[in-house]
Amino acid sequence: MTASDTHRAIDAVWRIESARLIAGLTRIVRDVGLAEDLAQDALLAALERWPDSGVPDNPGAWLMATAKHRAIDTFRRAERIERKHEELGHELESERERAVPDMDEAIDDDIGDDVLRLVFMSCHPVLPREARTALTLRLLGGLTTDEIARAFLVPEPTVAQRIVRAKRTLSERKIPFEVPRGAELGARLSSVLEVIYLVFNEGYSATAGDDLVRPALCEDALRLGRIVAELAPEEPEVHGLVALMEIQASRLRARTGPSGKAILLLDQDRGRWDQILIRRGLSALERAEKLRGANGPYALQAAIVACHARARTAAETDWPRIASLYDALAAVTPSPVVELNRAVAVAMAFGPAEGLKIIDALKSERSLKGYHLLPAARADLLEKLGRFDEARAEFERAASLTRNARERELLLDRAQAQKAGNHTHKKGK
């Protein structure tokens, strides 16, 4: 194996093992920053030794043992050395005694829980949202600071600062390393799901920049979501979120044309929809439905995208069902955005005039003032009703509100089409 092969292998091992490593170390040292430092030290040790000795059979265990030795060294210099030394020495002893396959298993269970604890910690509501996202992608996604910065189009030092401050806050506020229980679990879980979905959305429909989609981010989010679903299999909303992401991601290949141009959902070539992801999404939705019913916001949104996924052609879409799912969603998480989407579904199911009624009621909604999808949706309905001049004005307004170049292009095209009489009577996103 050449040196660069080994480095690539080490990179790969890091991606596979780092979250578990950091999680396990956090349980021992009770500080996420220190845990990451120790993990990084172990990685550096691997970079020094493995090119000569080769990648060990159980690289995760090697890294963990190395990191724990470093932890002992660290504590030797601190006050509480005796107590920690005992605890750690104990752990190292018992690990050495176990046979390799057993160690793998036993560590697996404990570490699984530790990863879950780490997820909850890095998504703690005491941290600002961007900090939660950056920290989660860093500790659990294995992304470098640079990768995170490029993903969110933010300077690297900014991300670095966010992460440093986040760790400091967790330490200063003595945020416990635990899975929340009882009443607290629901709210804390929401925070976790929110972070994951934020990452996904940034990849699915980038808010700024030249590309409409950034599939790598969707993959990161999906991976995190799947991990959490396996760690918390009794939570229907986690499966709901995973279902939502799998099915939305199934459309990534169809969302952009050859030149990167945006294509609306109803215009997409369904042959390009990824059936592996659709199958996984429907299966995840089923898991959610089997647990206390699928009444949460993510499960409902998943059920909506599932309707699209099941329709072999746009014409076969079950719009009345989608409209009623939006009714349910509006009851659970009322918001102007949900209302807007409901309007679109109602228009498809019961005619554009019905949808327009709902949209017009949102005109004075302050939170939607800068939201390009409101005038875009209104424009579409106006076009269907033959009110072309009004439609053009609204498409132009929508184009001026989006920061994404591809979406702007699409909207300006539709504005132009009103003049030329080239009306598209298709919808969706």
């Binding site: 480095h7 596979i16 298993e105 490029r150 592996i276």
Partner: protein, 138 residues
């Protein structure tokens, strides 16, 4: 990135796997699922139950198994989602450790776009691990 991993044991026999082996396989599949990287997997039954269809100058030939070139026979596959090929290779090694023998062919699937501006910059061209370059503690 998506990879299909094709497992070729290098031989074919009609001996069914032991319960212990099945358990180990199950645990491994579970581990990949828990890591969020497994998209699909299945075993392929004996080639005796399969057939080969070939076209040559517009004419079809259908040959029923079992097939004798056992080195190339595929016994199972997995589709994984990883950031790099190196990751998929590590997973293949884990799997092969379990099986004890054989070859896993790791093939990049055609899900496009494979690269975009924000994806990993590890083109594999640098001699130094990118992580060593950024041992940034932040």
């Amino acid at each position: 990135m998506r990879f299909m991993m094709l497992y070729k044991p290098g031989r074919e026999d009609d001996v069914p796997p032991t319960a212990e082996h099945m358990a180990e396989m199950g645990a491994f599949i579970g581990k990949m699922a828990k890591a969020g990287v497994l998209l699909a997997t299945d075993g392929l039954q004996s080639s005796a139950k399969g057939s080969r269809v070939r076209i040559n100058k517009g004419k079809f030939t259908v040959t029923d198994g079992p097939f004798t070139e056992t080195k190339e026979l595929i016994a199972g596959f997995a589709i994984v989602q990883t950031k790099t090929k190196a990751e998929a290779i590590e997973l293949a090694k884990d799997f092969l450790n379990l099986m004890g023998e054989g070859e896993s062919e790791v093939r990049l699937m055609s899900d496009t776009p494979a690269f975009d501006a924000s994806s990993v910059s590890h083109s594999g061209k640098s001699n130094q691990s990118p992580r060593a370059q950024t041992s940034a503690r932040a």
